[in-house]
């Protein structure tokens, strides 16, 4: 097991190197030389050169990349072009907000989706099923930023129940969490349903019923645990999307999270912040995926067996 975790952590390295390179390359093609946007209008060519050196923008792409990786290994993500702050520090300042949002989002989504998906599957083709599936489809089709706007319009402006933005207190997280959570909940409901339907067809449920297990236990004990496996997969995959989707919620609700950090930094051509934040986010996503895989092992002994080998 430990060896497996170690192996997975080691596999993280090439992925992170790749991510760093990808972002590096993308930002390199990006229009606009960051030196000129950082330098004032009156900068002389000499000042520009000094600045370029200072910003670590001298040398070829590969040279810069290698330098960056060298620093990265020492835990140094560089300093922001704009604020001159340590990118790691800035990132860590933002991370709790994003994690708070992501966690609540996931909790809300799972809390809604799993019971709904199970009910839909168990009562396949009933009114309950159709209603929850239609709702899920709508949830899936609604662009989340639009939903965010509608929520603001209704709950903040009309009813005044929740603040429209900011990061203070529980009340301010409610609307962003619903915004990001809706599509996730919709997706999870659908996954739960189809995974549950799949499991409900399985022979071992027949075995359980033939044993005299009550219908409730057949569903809650025998079926659910098996149905969880694909749900967990989706969960892992969606974590990166929740982080991504939160960019928009963060914009709409002025939620100072990592997504906004990246978007703002891109806006300012703040390459160290963009790269640093994306590399860290990737790391986070990968670690979460690793955790998800470990949860897998917990739920499904067959997978555990694969790991221990």
């Amino acid at each position: 097991m430990y060896r497996y975790i170690l192996k997975r952590l080691l596999m993280l390295i090439p992925v992170l190197l790749g991510v760093a390179f990808l972002i590096f390359a993308i930002m390199d093609v990006a229009a606009g030389d960051p030196v000129y946007s950082v330098a004032g209008a009156d900068a002389t060519p000499e000042q520009i050169e000094v600045l370029r050196e200072k910003m670590g923008l001298n040398g070829s792409l590969i040279e810069r990349y290698i330098r960056y990786i060298g620093n990265l290994l020492r835990g140094d993500l560089g300093t922001s072009y704009i604020s001159k702050l340590d990118v790691m520090k800035v990132y860590l300042q933002r991370l709790p907000n994003t994690l708070k949002l992501a966690t609540l989002t996931m909790i809300v989504a799972v809390g809604m989706a799993i019971p709904l998906g199970i009910t839909a599957a168990v009562h396949q083709n009933s009114i309950r099923d159709t209603t929850s599936m239609v709702l899920a489809l709508i949830g899936l089709s609604m662009p989340n930023f639009w939903l965010g706007l509608l929520l603001i319009l209704f709950f903040s402006l009309r009813l005044g129940w929740f603040p429209t933005g900011g990061s203070e207190g529980f009340r301010s997280i409610v609307l962003p969490a619903i915004t990001v959570g809706t599509s996730l909940a919709a997706l999870l409901t659908r996954t739960t349903r189809s995974s549950m339907l799949d499991v409900l067809r399985q022979d071992y449920l027949r075995t359980a019923r033939a044993k005299g297990v009550s219908e409730r236990n057949v569903i809650q004990k025998h079926a659910l645990r098996n149905a969880l496996i694909p749900i967990i997969t989706i969960f892992g995959v969606q974590f990166s999307n929740v982080l991504g989707g939160s960019v928009l919620a963060e914009t709409v609700f002025a939620w100072p999270g990592v997504g906004r950090l990246v978007v703002d930094a891109i806006d300012q051509r703040d390459i160290p912040t963009v790269t640093g934040a994306l590399v860290m986010t990737t790391m986070l996503v990968t670690i979460v995926n690793l955790l998800v895989d470990l949860v897998y092992a917990f739920v499904d002994p067959r997978i555990k067996a694969q790991y221990t080998k």
């Binding site: 990006a30 229009a31 606009g32 030389d33 960051p34 030196v35 000129y36 946007s37 330098a39 004032g40 209008a41 009156d42 900068a43 002389t44 060519p45 000042q47 520009i48 600045l51 300093t79 922001s80 704009i82 604020s83 001159k84 702050l85 800035v90 300042q93 933002r94 907000n97 603001i152 903040s156 402006l157 005044g160 603040p163 429209t164 933005g165 900011g166 990061s167 203070e168 914009t251 709409v252 609700f253 002025a254 100072p256 906004r260 950090l261 703002d264 891109i266 806006d267 300012q268 051509r269 703040d270």
Partner: protein, 508 residues
């Protein structure tokens, strides 16, 4: 209400009633639209940063918002030599930086100004300084290369805030963030908020509010709602469309004053087509400034026909404006020798309101046979394209904010400097003018000691510019601020660089 009437400079000054027994709200939160990006006064020139420096740092001299006069700042007094070339400043003694341990000396002034020469943001302000002589701890003499009539104005700019040599030397990044101001930075979470805490050792009158927070709300509507909900005390720049909500809300007050920021179409006069003055005039005639104000500022703006900012010295009120007139535009176009549809220009914009303005121009230019392509860009990309010596742009919707000195404006926007035998455009000369005649006119105006003559010289410069149309000025808008009714003590400047040092809410 009396305190909402603009002063001579256009600033709205909310006088603080001096009541020694008054108790004030502990923290004031200001909802801002733009993030503070740096705490080093010489590393940026955005409004957001300037407002922070106003709290944390001090310049040698200040501009009195009521009269526009230069008044003492950090310097208690100053003397000018008869030739107008040497300024001797006297500093108070015993001033400490906000870290509480570092004393201020005249050396720090020298250090600051020397450091400014290396800053691409501040160097233009000290370009005439040829010598600095620290006489003693409290005296410094600064010598200029020419009798710069605007030198004190430049020194009042927040970019000239005095830094501590000792602190900067010890910590290159954090040193410059410490000033002698009434506040010190408490916590800065970029992208979220920055908070300032009162400097209780300040030598003069203490600030009434202990803590000031700039909280970032990028969405204008969200920002206003936050004000209405009482989450913040001040809402900078609410959406013009929403101003009614402030006026209708009994708990809120709307501060409104004309903005000096000039929106203009910068024309790269070196590009084919745009090097033709008739085309430039055609563009000027085809610019429907009123519609642009309507869509960009919801009608809350004033047409601007001048080439310098409102309220600046030498503004020619009766300049012969290019009124919106498509027929004249077509005439000028015909004179240019180009055929309809032959020309396609790209115009760069960054913000939503500029994009809307560009859309209006696009529609009008298509009427006279010029295609306009709108390139929406991020602010930083736009800035770097403008600053890039390659000058790969044609048109750009841009703005000019500086109201400090007329010379600074014309020199930067239209002037050029001789380097290695060729004229090179100055930093903010977005129209890429390299016009020796114009340079001569600018230099002459700078050193002219007689105010009337000097004003006439600026009128001439404006007329000259009006003929060659290097830019098309569009409009100035209004500065809008929503505040809680009880907020007072602030100075709301037409440059949007508000002064919050004395902002407060008296407790009832």
């Amino acid at each position: 209400e009396g305190d909402l009437v603009p002063s001579k400079t256009g600033a709205i000054i909310q006088e603080l009633v001096a009541d020694p027994n008054a108790v004030y709200q502990d923290t004031i939160t200001i909802g801002v639209a733009n993030d503070v990006t740096t705490l080093d006064p010489q590393a940026s020139n955005t409004d957001a940063n300037m407002m922070a420096f106003e709290l944390t740092h001090e310049t040698l001299v200040r501009i009195d918002p009521a009269t526009g006069e230069i008044v003492p700042g950090l310097a208690e007094s100053w003397e000018v030599s008869d030739d107008g070339l040497t300024f001797t400043f006297t500093l108070p003694s015993g001033v400490m930086f906000t870290d509480g341990v570092t004393p201020l000396t005249a050396n720090d002034v020298k250090y600051t100004y020397t450091r400014a020469k290396d800053s691409s943001f501040a160097s233009a302000k000290v370009s005439d300084v040829v010598d600095m002589n620290v006489i003693d701890d409290t005296h410094i003499a600064i010598t200029l290369s020419r009798p710069n009539q605007e030198f004190l104005l430049l020194m009042a700019h927040k970019g000239m805030s005095i830094l501590s040599e000792a602190l900067c030397a010890a910590d290159e990044t954090n040193g410059p963030t410490v000033g002698t101001g009434m506040f010190a930075v408490e916590e800065w979470v970029p992208g979220d908020f920055i908070s300032f805490v009162r400097n209780d050792n300040y030598r003069g009158a203490k600030a009434p509010t202990r803590r000031i927070v700039f909280k970032l709300f990028k969405e204008a509507s969200t920002r206003l709602i936050a004000l209405q909900a009482g989450e913040i005390d001040v809402c900078i720049d609410p959406s013009t469309i929403d101003l009614g909500y402030i006026q209708d809300d009994p708990n809120l007050k709307l501060i409104q004053t004309q903005n000096v920021v000039m929106l203009y179409v910068a024309i790269n006069t070196t590009k084919p087509g745009l090097d033709n003055v008739h085309i430039r005039k055609a563009i000027a005639y085809a610019t429907d400034k009123l519609s642009m104000i309507e869509v960009g500022f919801d009608g809350k703006g004033t047409v601007h026909n001048n080439y310098i900012n409102v309220n600046q010295f030498g503004l020619k009120k009766d300049i012969a404006a290019y009124e919106y007139n498509l027929d004249k535009a077509k005439e000028e176009f015909a004179l240019s020798g180009y055929k309809e549809g032959e020309l396609t220009f790209h115009i760069m914009t960054d913000k939503e309101y500029k994009k809307n303005a560009a859309l209006v121009l696009q529609a009008d230019l298509s009427e006279i046979g010029i295609n306009l392509v709108i390139d929406e860009m991020e602010t930083a990309a736009l800035k770097s394209t403008l600053n890039d010596p390659a000058l790969n742009y044609e048109l750009c919707l841009y703005q000019w904010t500086d109201a400090d000195g007329t010379d600074f404006t014309v020199r930067n926007m239209y002037g050029s400097t001789m380097k290695d035998g060729v004229l090179v455009k100055n930093g903010s000369n977005r129209c890429v003018l390299t016009d020796a005649t114009l340079n001569g006119m600018i230099d002459a105006a700078l050193v002219e000691a007689d105010t009337t003559k000097r004003e006439q010289l600026y009128f001439d410069i404006e007329d000259y510019l009006n003929e060659i149309v290097p830019i098309v000025p569009i409009c100035t808008s209004y500065i809008n601020i929503g505040i809680k009714k009880d907020v007072t003590g602030a100075v709301w400047r037409p440059t949007a660089k508000h002064d919050y040092r004395f902002i407060c809410i008296p407790e009832k």
